[in-house]
């Protein structure tokens, strides 16, 4: 995927993995089942309203807490095309790259973009455009090594290609 484009669902600081996917649903590994409960404990209507391609924007430390990969899996399977945040918790950051969920760190965009804005993200340039306000932001570029994992759509393909 070279570009993400969709409506924004805006969240605040420290969105933890327990609200992204509550542990009571961790008895399954099925992405569709996980997606059905995505963000349930922070926004009960999220899953009814989110459409394929939509974008999550949040403030500091998105994805803090547990190492559950079920969290980025649920977000990806819910149709979300990109998560933009001021900062990400480190395990969530790794997990997202490893499963091929695009994430972008950009403090200014995360602070200014509002709920419901139409936003597009160009993954080649890292440029985020808020089409509602017309403003553009430069997202932080990935180190080359991580970009290779992203280009292969995840760690497994990357390792397989190396061997």
């Amino acid at each position: 995927m070279k570009e993400a484009k969709g409506s924004v669902f805006k969240f605040g600081d420290n969105v933890d993995t327990d609200v992204i996917i509550p542990a009571r649903y961790l008895n399954t590994t099925d992405p569709k089942e996980l997606a059905a409960h995505c963000m349930e404990d922070i926004d009960k209507t999220f899953i009814q309203n989110v459409k394929e391609g939509d974008i999550i924007v949040a403030n500091k430390n998105f994805g803090c807490g547990s190492s559950r990969e079920h969290a980025p899996i649920a977000i990806k399977a819910a149709g979300v095309s990109c998560v933009i945040a001021e900062t990400f918790a480190r395990i969530f950051y790794r997990n997202s790259i490893n499963i091929g969920l695009p994430i972008v760190e950009c403090e200014e965009a995360a602070k200014e973009i509002q709920n419901g804005d139409k936003v597009s993200v160009n993954f080649d340039t890292g440029i985020i455009t808020d089409e509602t306000t017309g403003k553009t932001y430069q997202g932080q570029a990935f180190p080359e090594f991580m970009q290779k994992i992203i280009d292969r759509e995840g760690l497994v393909n990357y390792i397989n290609a190396k061997q």
Partner: protein, 421 residues
Amino acid sequence: MSKMTMSQKILAAHAGLSEVKAGQLIEADLDLVLGNDITSPVAIKEMEKFNTEGVFNKDRIALVPDHFVPNKDIKSAENCKCVREFARRNEITNYFEVGQMGIEHALLPEKGLTVAGDLIIGADSQTCTYGALGAFSTGIGSTDMAAGMATGKAWFKVPSAIKFNLTGKLNKFVSGKDVILHIIGMIGVDGALYKSMEFVGDGVSSLTMDDRFTIANMAIEAGGKNGIFPVDEKAIEYMKEHAPNREYKIFEADEDAEYDEEYTIDLSKLTPTVAFPHLPENTHTFDEIDEIKIDQVVIGSCTNGRIDDMRCAAEILKGRKVADSVRCIIIPATQSIYMQAMEEGLLKTFIEAGAVVSTPTCGPCLGGYMGILASGERCVSTTNRNFVGRMGATDSEIYLASPAVAAASAITGKLSQPSEL
């Protein structure tokens, strides 16, 4: 001359490099790869996609079904079955079935699988616990676990570090939990984001190994990549007892190692500390706490289910009764801790006080089972997270505290410190 932190030295050694710098991306050889019944099934599915056959080393993988075990429902049973069959198929040496298993981060050091100088990844965020022994250990997700099991390697961004200089000695009924809650309250839940937390100073020697496990365990709650302690006599004694057949390696930070920040904490000044809902950084001490009535107490978990914790709770509960309004659930973290608590008469004390004692499980900590909270209920818990809905209903509340505070609160029926009894 290198200027590396203790964590950086361990990473460099495992990457075959003489020196690494903060921010550098490296690939390193792993000593141990860990997974549980929640994270392993996802990793096992990913494993099937690799070109390679089997695992890199059947002795260097630990599979510990502990979260929803003994199986809480059919789906959990299927997950455990998946892990069990994978373990059998690949002849995994360190698979721990019900009867041998305990909560992973209490179990692995006890079994001698984690020693100083090791590089360990685990598909569980609290994997940072083994830093108490001077290992570099960090939580990762299922795909990293799969790659680790297949290749014996993982990629790391070398972290910078924050230094915590500990001085003095803890007072009675103040423990490692109060130290780490104090620190998280001070620096915030992202205060150590991507960084190592290195605990040093003459105060370290007074901390028991169980205190150190608790402190390292919650490094992730400050966003840390790992928490780590220097290896001293107590750590060596612990490893001699639990890992007599494994060679450990002691790494020390360079004298001129660079740290992003440095803090000094006088342990003798700390008092019982509680993290209020819904973040571990919302810490308060009892001089600023009003009456908070509670419904449940949980004493256990990878954070505080060790023998020190059981002894402390028993000392407070001995000859007293759990308040009628409170359910008190005590969970020794491993079979061996359970047995020791039995032999020391601690279980008798718990049961006489009106508490229930459970087989090892992570159950209530993450709202799995064995103590789910109903709407509006409050729990004082020795676990590690108090996020919205973590233990049950989204409007229930968790107060994170030490075993001493949890036991005292069980007796009074409100958030209390031992001195109030």
